[in-house]
């Protein structure tokens, strides 16, 4: 007797890769940086993260269940596909350790409802949910979102001895490396302050500061503190093929080269230019943004060339904001702006089909 065969169209095999595997690997890749942040900033970071993740998952569950009318089973499965966890975690990575506990709640709810689900859910949002939420929080509570004063007894930043040349106290509450660099640079043109400013910049470009920037002992938002721990996760994602180098590479290289060129064109030495370039890579959110947020599938281009253009564009914007913008940091706005251009970039970077005229 012959069995009853299943008829389906080819291919008949599948790689076994699935959305959950991808998303949970990203979560795992984010964990070293979380561990580092807990060590540098204290247990509060852990509670903030759990609150952010919990809110994101619950809100995701309810919006899929109520908004899309799915069954509980499917809603549960989708809200635990890992993507909401990533969003919740990334929001916490984008707030200062001083933030109050309700900040990640509002951030996660905003990200999931307004940025993700209102646009059709996973894969359909055109802005990175975590970054859009950060922008929203920044606009609504600017001082809470930029309060980088050291947490009592927890952070002994290598830059804590380096203050603004004019010695204003605002250096304490906003002591991120990029902040200090930006205000010092501003004083360069002031003849009375020039020497002090140069001294500050030299101190910033010292090996000890670079070491701290790399390992993580500096002020900033929760996720961006340790380049080393972020890169650890990033390497894991590269090896497992979950992200490709195109966006992070082109993004980081663009920032580096532009800073280098600017130094050289304004008469600086090559070595200072190189140091400045490296400083801009390690200080601030570039590594976090380039590897973990600019690579967000839904909001970056799908074509290989488009991805490189996206990275270069984000690099140029970050450079412009950091140099001449109102904020010391520009990674999140740069990525958000490039998110908006993603459909356009896709349209104009159709890959050359095999056999198509060159």
């Amino acid at each position: 007797m012959s069995p009853n065969f299943i008829v389906s169209s080819s291919p008949h095999f599948h790689s076994g890769n699935n959305i959950k595997r991808i998303m949970y690997l990203v979560v795992i890749a984010l964990l070293p940086a979380l561990g580092g942040a807990i060590i540098f900033f204290g247990m509060k970071v852990l509670w903030l993260s759990l609150i952010g993740i919990f809110t994101a998952v619950i809100v995701e569950l309810l919006s899929i269940k109520i908004g899309f009318g799915k069954t509980w089973k499917e809603s549960l499965s989708r809200s635990f596909d890992g993507s909401a966890i990533i969003t919740g975690l990334l929001i916490v990575y984008n707030i200062p350790p001083n933030a109050p506990f309700w900040i990640p709640i509002i951030g996660s709810a905003f990200a999931i409802i307004v940025v993700k689900q209102l646009f059709g859910g996973l894969g359909n949002n055109f802005l990175n949910p975590a970054l859009a939420a950060r922008a929203f929080l920044m606009a609504s509570w600017p001082s809470l979102m930029t309060d980088f004063s050291p947490l009592a007894g927890n952070m002994r930043g290598a830059i804590s001895g380096i203050t603004n040349p004019n010695g204003l106290i605002d250096a304490v509450s906003s002591a991120t490396p990029l902040n200090v660099l930006k205000s010092a640079t501003r004083y360069l043109s002031d003849p009375s302050m020039h020497n002090k400013a140069v001294e500050t910049i030299n101190k910033l470009y010292s090996p000890e500061v670079f070491k701290s920037l790399f390992i993580g002992n500096i002020g900033g938002v929760i996720g961006e503190t340790s380049a080393l721990l972020l890169l650890l996760g990033a390497i894991m994602l590269l090896i497992t093929g979950i992200i490709k180098l195109r966006i992070p590479m082109s993004y980081i290289l663009t920032v580096f080269l532009l800073i280098l060129l600017k130094e050289i064109f304004s008469g600086g030495e090559l070595i200072i230019g190189l140091k400045a370039g490296l400083f801009h890579i390690l200080a601030g959110g570039l590594i976090l943004g380039a590897f973990f947020m600019a690579t967000d599938y839904a909001t970056c281009p799908i074509t290989p060339v488009g991805q490189i253009i996206f990275g270069i564009g984000a690099g140029i914007l970050t450079f412009l904001i950091r140099m001449w913008g109102g904020f010391p940091e520009g990674v999140s706005y740069s990525i958000l702006l490039m998110n908006i251009f993603t459909p356009l970039i896709n349209r104009f970077t159709k890959p050359r089909i095999l056999g198509e005229k060159k």
Binding site: F5, H12, L354
Partner: protein, 433 residues
């Protein structure tokens, strides 16, 4: 090592690479479809009650792109009627023969003492009369492929031994067991085309085949093991770095590609005077008791082949003609082996599971692997929304349906299926005009 951009690495599962080709005796009932090739079906030359002999022509080619059909057994024509077919969705006119078991050959089958003196036209005619079609899958009449337009300047003949589909080992075994005959067939084709030396393209996962072919004196190019390395356009790109123009054919870049099985059939026809009425295929997968490579008479029903290999295992749920990537799944095992049957794959249980589709997460994996450099996710979306003009602009007709995109998609989206629908809609729209 030579390769192309894109592609995937599915598990190879070449379990049968070491098993000798075994001849399966033809069963009592044989069903030979009159259409086993691209082009017009052959016209029946026999009627109910006629006696047929092994290798006797029973169907005549109808028109230029068509191919004659031969009997694979001696016996009596039981009926001429439509029967299930492994490729066509609708039953196809077939010759049903009761095998008398005597294996009486047709008197026309004679070994040639010499064939060096045959002209190109004579050789092509032998190939045409032998009913030889591409045995790699598309089953395009070989003599037509060997007759490129006069303005084409053919400088390269590639013998495709890539056999990149997982599981299948028929070509691999042919190269291991009869390298001389295959080389001879390739040289005959080279002579027809006026090409100096054929290039054998073999993936590195077939070391035995590579060394046997080399020992026989063949010019072998080793290719990286990657699917779909054996697709014509990818093969030409990998070996010669030439690109077949969109919508074009290999002869436009001076190349002809022939598959190993086809080359062997050419040798059989020219040297031994034997038409194409049997072929080597791989019977494999967890759904069949014994696995191996068989020489099978065309017209043998799948179920007889499977019985010969010990029958089904428990829980066999999928029957596929060909490999897992591009093979065609069968509703029933009462379809016959045809010239294009490179393998019979039986899957059981979880092996045959295809994940259920979730929304596209835009991960770009499908773009990354597409060997034609298309954007499969977009083609699928456009197809499903009926936007075929736009899909056409994004190259939907260039898709070779290799299945790489569906294979990797983490959302389990049936991209190829959607693209096929889009192609169908586009063709329909075009034919309206």
């Amino acid at each position: 090592m030579k390769s192309f951009k894109g592609g995937i690495h599915p598990e190879e599962n070449k379990i049968t690479t070491g098993s000798l080709i075994k001849e399966m005796p033809a069963p009592e009932l044989i069903v030979i479809p009159f259409s086993q090739h691209t082009g017009a079906p052959a016209k029946p030359l026999v009627k109910k009650g006629d006696r047929v002999l092994v290798g006797m022509k029973i169907g005549e080619a109808e028109g230029y792109i068509s191919s004659p059909i031969h009997s694979s057994v001696s016996g009596k024509v039981k009926d001429i009627r439509v029967m299930p077919h492994p490729v066509s969705a609708i039953p196809v006119l077939s010759c049903v023969i009761v095998n008398d078991g005597e294996n009486e050959p047709d008197p026309s089958i004679k070994k040639r003492t010499s064939y060096d003196t045959l002209s190109v036209e004579e050789l092509k005619n032998i190939i045409k009369e032998a009913g030889i079609v591409g045995l790699g899958g598309a089953a395009f009449p070989t003599n037509v492929k060997l007759s490129p337009p006069p303005e084409a300047h053919i400088d390269t003949l590639i013998i495709n031994g890539a056999e990149c589909e997982p599981y299948l080992t028929a070509d691999d075994r042919l190269m291991q067991e009869m390298p001389e005959r295959i080389l001879e067939g390739a040289n005959i084709i080279a002579k027809i085309l006026g090409v100096k030396e054929p290039i054998f393209a073999i993936e590195e996962n077939k070391p035995e085949a590579i060394s046997k072919m080399k020992a026989a004196g063949a010019n072998v190019v080793t290719l990286k093991t990657k699917y779909p390395q054996g697709a014509e356009k990818q093969l030409i790109k990998a070996i010669l770095d030439r690109e077949v123009p969109r919508g074009g054919l290999p002869f436009m870049v001076g190349v002809v590609v022939q598959n190993i099985g086809t080359v062997k059939a050419v040798a059989d026809a020219v040297i031994y005077g034997e038409p194409l009425y049997k072929r080597v295929l791989t019977v494999t997968g967890d759904g069949v008791k014994n696995r191996g490579n068989l020489l099978v008479a065309v017209g043998t029903l799948f179920k007889d082949v499977i019985d010969f290999m010990g029958g089904y295992t428990d829980n066999t749920i999928k029957l596929i003609m060909g490999g897992p990537m591009m093979g065609i799944s069968q509703k029933t095992d009462t379809v016959p082996v045809i010239k294009g049957t490179s393998g019979i794959l039986l899957l059981k249980g979880e092996q045959a599971n295809i994940p259920h589709s979730e929304p596209c997460i835009n991960c770009g994996e499908c773009v990354e692997v597409c060997p034609m450099h298309l954007v499969p996710t977009l083609l699928a979306k456009l197809s499903e929304n009926g936007k075929v003009k736009m899909a056409n602009r994004w190259g939907i007709m260039d898709c070779i349906e290799c299945g790489s995109c569906s294979y990797v998609c983490p959302a389990g989206i049936k991209l190829v299926q959607a693209i096929r629908l889009g192609k169908y809609l586009l063709r329909k729209e075009r034919s309206k005009k």
